[in-house]
Amino acid sequence: MKVSVAGYMEFVRASRPNVFESLCDSVSSQTNKLKRVRKSVDRTLRFLDQTLAMRQNCQVLEECGLLGAVVGGDVYEERVRSATETVKRPVDGFVIEGFDLEHSHECYQSILQSATSVLPQSSPRFIHGVYSPGDILTAVESGVDVFDSACVLTATENGCAFTFHNSSSDCVENRRENRGATENIAAEPPSHQIDLNDEKYAMDFSPLLRGCECYCCVHHTRAYIHHLLITREILASTLLMMHNFTHLMKFFASLRDVLRSPLESDYLHFKSLCAFPEHFLHA
């Protein structure tokens, strides 16, 4: 099946989204040669120009926001070229494409920064498929603004509930509880989530996370979620999604609050409370 720009734009026109991305040729990172990466940047720009032309002639499409795709694999120069050229076009924002799970933390951060560094400050920058919450902070520090909920689905599908810091719940106390009051929290990496498949939750009467006001934490216990997972009941996914989604949304609300502060120390303190361990990046 071939997806042309014209075919894709017909789908966009029928869907009437508030925002859509231009079709792109995004190659994955380490396995592709320079020639292929260059081709993907050229092709993506061509797609964008075709999209812009079609959009001009169509009122429905003009009312939708357009994100230009920044591609370029792991090649810094190509990332910069893609970003620089896309900026020249009249787009409403940018989506950084082509990040897979094989990057090291340093590589992930530096490639992202190479892409975002030439983008205008006032335009929103989107990214897809950030599967672990730790990478959200990395991406934010690298200039990204908008994320999808990939990490929520990943956690839920694994039977996990988020417990990392957001200012509305007492996550430090929760972590202490998870590992016993006598342990020294500072000595070990804190947990960002709990795995409800673990037998130790079979008789745990507490909510997934104390202080959380999601439907699941208000009404149900860890023991019940554990039971639902063990018996492979659909409701386990429903309830975990409610918790993980609520938790992530609160995390973003807290993050936005912190970023409004002019003091970098406020952000660093927030980050230290989250304390996502290094090994958790791309977990």
């Binding site: 079979a202 216990t221 019940y224 639902l228 018996t231 009941e233 659909i234 409701l235 429903t238």
Partner: protein
Amino acid sequence: MPVATQATVKSLTPEEVAGIGGRVVLSNAYHLYLRPGVQTVSSLGGLHGFMRWPGPILTDSGGFQAFSMGSLRKVTDAGIRFRSHLDGSEHHFTPELATMNQVGLGADIIMCFDQCIAYGASERQVRQAMERTHRWAAQCHRVHRDSGAWPGRALFGIVQGGTFSHLRDESTQAITAIPFDGYAVGGLAVGEDKEQLYGFTGQVAAQLPQDKPRYLMGVGSPEDLVEGVARGIDMFDCALPTRVARNGAMFTPDGRVDVTKRRFAEQHGPVDEECDCYACANYSAAYVHHLFRAKEILGLRLASTHNLRFVLRLMERIREAILEERFTSFSREFLDRYRPTDETARQEQKLRWLQERGT
């Protein structure tokens, strides 16, 4: 009563079930005894605290599951010995244990431990199972009284007798001789045809006390509910609405439809124009069709919501019709319009489901 076998109505939160009109749910003591265990549920506040259902809960004794799901089962006068379908561990259900399991789970209505018999068994076999059920019923009644749980908790007796008319009469006499809080018609919906189902239901119900609730176990489809009420039944339980929903079969006033079929791909309106459920109030049939094709969990939830609302609303309308003394015309109108699933297909589907029950 929506079925919440393993302490959950599949895919729906308790709030959603209550919002649809569910008032009493049914859980299964066999499943909960094996996993997570009666003690665990009890220490977590009983079934009400464990699953957070705010209304009454009825539990089945687990006798049917021990018989049909447990392997290497041996039935004696003492009870049923079986191996768990989960891990092969050995268990022995007796009338005492089956009763105390349900008390431990904290159910509001509990069922007698009875011996179930396969459809097609000989009269001799059915008689033997029936007589054992009567003896067990007396034991359950005694255990329940002595447990101190009565009268806060109700115990229902179960009439057996297979598809033998004289045995049904005999069983009704024996069970109603014991002052249970309610009476159930058991051992039906196991493979017999509709005529037999309705016939035996009517025969038994006509002899049950007028002032005690009558419960037809494991029944049924929308037409069965109307026919059952017509014959004197007050309570029903059936996993059918949610089970078929998960395969895309949805109830409408004209009969069941398969929302996965192509003809729904472009339908702008809901699956059932006359339904007030969340799914029909908010979504086109085309969207529900899409969700099933894309294997999205939301499809299961919407279809389950709709089917449960359909049967619960049907029961609401039945109650209204009875109070307004127009049940006969209501039931005729409903049954004239509602086209039941083809009998052969229904039997095949049921047989398939009964065979898959172990998983």
